[in-house]
């Protein structure tokens, strides 16, 4: 059984990341670290759009 691919957008993810980062490290953070936040959002969206098979458990110690 395969999971349904979620509908998660890069823009929404980036906005959410930006809000969290500014809450942690102040309002200037997102302007200084835009590349970092975009990269993180990119990773999150790619993983969310490639979900594993339902039966797959996490790897951890291989």
């Amino acid at each position: 059984m395969t999971d349904r691919t979620p509908d998660i957008s890069f823009e929404e993810t980036l906005e959410s990341m930006t809000r969290q980062a500014e809450a942690r490290w102040g309002e200037g953070y997102s302007a200084e670290h835009q590349d970092l936040l975009e990269l993180a959002a990119h990773y999150i969206v790619n993983v969310a759009n490639s979900l594993p098979e339902t039966e797959t458990e996490p790897g951890f110690y291989q």
């Binding site: 999150i44 790619n46 993983v47 490639s50 996490p58 291989q62």
Partner: protein, 449 residues
């Protein structure tokens, strides 16, 4: 008689065992070599000359018949050494003196090795560049994070050194410095007493000048350790026998389409194809294989897992001492703190599927073959280069080995990388050794030959 600093681990240990080479003479030769080249290359954090000579004398008084009898080895400065600073080249661990040796250090000593010193790493084995210089061209990065270890081996300061790999930190600098790098299967060598980057990715790496030497160090250190939760209970074969058993022309799977060739420079693509053709002409069976679909997210998965686990390890220090971290490591930790827990777990699940798919691919041949890096070492001391060709294998936990395969037009080393299924290091090293002999190269940096 060749100069002592040119000896391989295999030859040096044999000469020590047969009484042709005194460990103190050998250690002194390497210490002199370090004195000569350290100002140029900056490979070492700590060298305790008196301790090295004292250990060498002890080896002479109680002759070791071990695999590494009287052979000095460098350690990346993340391996715990009892009574000797282990700084991880960081301000956070600047004064840390462990009370015990890492398990792999203990095992090296039991095999007769002498600890030569602690080699420079990038800060906490991540990506802020270290001051180490590439002996092939000091204006180019030596790579990282095992920068000092790789430079020391390439320039003849020691015949072997330990590194580690969480992304590409052993096999990439091996390629940039024209030496052999082995990243064993995850869990094959204990990480107990090794400063972590990411618990579920970290692997002890081996940096040497021949494939046989990689097998010797692997033999000395491999095996279960109850102190390491990631340690594998897999039986440890005799890797030198295994190399002998796999000494015929190998069956190689060339990963020519997609990820590896798409990311390589034209020069690297042509070089890898030429190397594959040379190996085929020498008798190897070379077939082209396609990567599984799960490869598309492999690098993203690796970055997510690494950054989240790195953030978890550093959180205690980072809350109050963030300013003491280098900018790249700081950014990695901050990213790790922002990644949702569900994303981390999905990455771990995807990784399990990826490992399954890559294992199935690797089992079709003796070894998968690809370029070691997308390009030779960049002319930029503000980077450690691109780990894209190592990170997927580290994520999957599969063993890889890099061997030098020639020079670029700019005179820098190029390498090829082999990968095999989990715990198939014997077959992997057998194939790599056959290829090493078929290519027949003797690569040494001209200024440090």
């Amino acid at each position: 008689m060749p100069e002592a600093y040119t000896l391989s681990v295999s030859d040096a240990a044999e000469q020590v065992r047969s009484g042709q080479l005194a460990p103190t003479d050998y250690a002194n030769a390497l210490l002199d070599r370090i004195d000569s080249h350290e100002p140029d290359l900056q490979a070492w954090v700590t060298i305790d000359r008196e301790a090295v000579i004292s250990d060498a004398r002890q080896r002479e008084q109680e002759p070791s018949q071990g695999l590494m009898a009287g052979v000095p080895v460098g350690l990346k400065d993340i391996f715990y050494t009892a009574g000797m600073k282990t700084t991880a080249c960081s301000r956070i661990y600047a004064d840390f003196v462990p009370e015990y040796d890492a398990t792999c250090v203990t095992r090296l000593k039991e095999a007769g090795a002498i600890i030569l010193g602690k080699a420079i790493t990038t800060e906490f084995a991540t990506s802020d560049p270290s001051p180490s210089r590439n002996p092939w061209n000091r204006e180019h990065t030596p790579g990282g994070s095992s920068s000092g270890s790789s430079v020391a081996v390439a320039s003849g300061m020691c015949p072997a050194a330990l590194g580690s790999q969480t992304g590409g930190s052993t096999c990439r600098p091996a390629a940039y410095n024209g030496i052999v790098g082995l990243k064993p299967t995850y869990g094959r060598i204990s990480r107990f007493g090794v400063v972590p980057v990411s618990w579920s990715l970290d692997t002890v790496g081996i940096l040497v000048r021949t494939v046989t030497d990689a097998a010797i160090l692997l033999q000395a250190m491999a095996g279960y350790d109850a102190n390491d939760p990631g340690s594998a209970e897999e039986p440890v074969p005799n890797f030198l026998d295994e190399i002998g058993r796999h000494s015929g022309p190998p069956r190689l799977g060339l990963l020519k389409t997609g990820y590896f060739f798409d990311r390589s420079t034209p020069e690297v693509r042509q070089h890898t194809e030429a190397a594959a053709a040379q190996l085929a002409q020498a008798g190897a069976v070379v077939e082209e294989l396609d990567l599984p679909d799960s490869f598309t997210t492999a690098s993203d998965v690796q970055r997510i897992i690494m950054n989240v686990e790195c953030a978890a390890f550093h959180e205690k220090f980072f809350r109050h001492r963030a300013d003491e971290y280098g900018p790249r490591l700081r950014a990695n930790i901050e990213m790790g703190l922002l990644i949702p827990s569900v994303t981390y777990l999905q990455a771990q699940r995807l990784r399990r599927e990826f490992r399954r798919d890559l294992t199935a691919l690797a089992e079709r041949v003796d070894a998968l073959l690809m370029p070691a890096t997308p390009a030779p070492a960049p002319k930029d001391l503000n980077t450690t280069g691109d780990a894209a060709f190592q990170a997927p294998w580290t994520s999957a936990g599969l063993p890889t080995v890099v061997i030098p395969s020639g020079l670029s037009e700019s005179g820098l080393p190029l390498g090829i990388q082999f990968a095999a299924s989990p715990f198939a290091e014997g077959r992997l090293l057998g194939a790599a050794r056959w290829c090493e002999q078929a290519l027949g190269l003797d690569m040494r940096p001209p200024a440090y030959a």
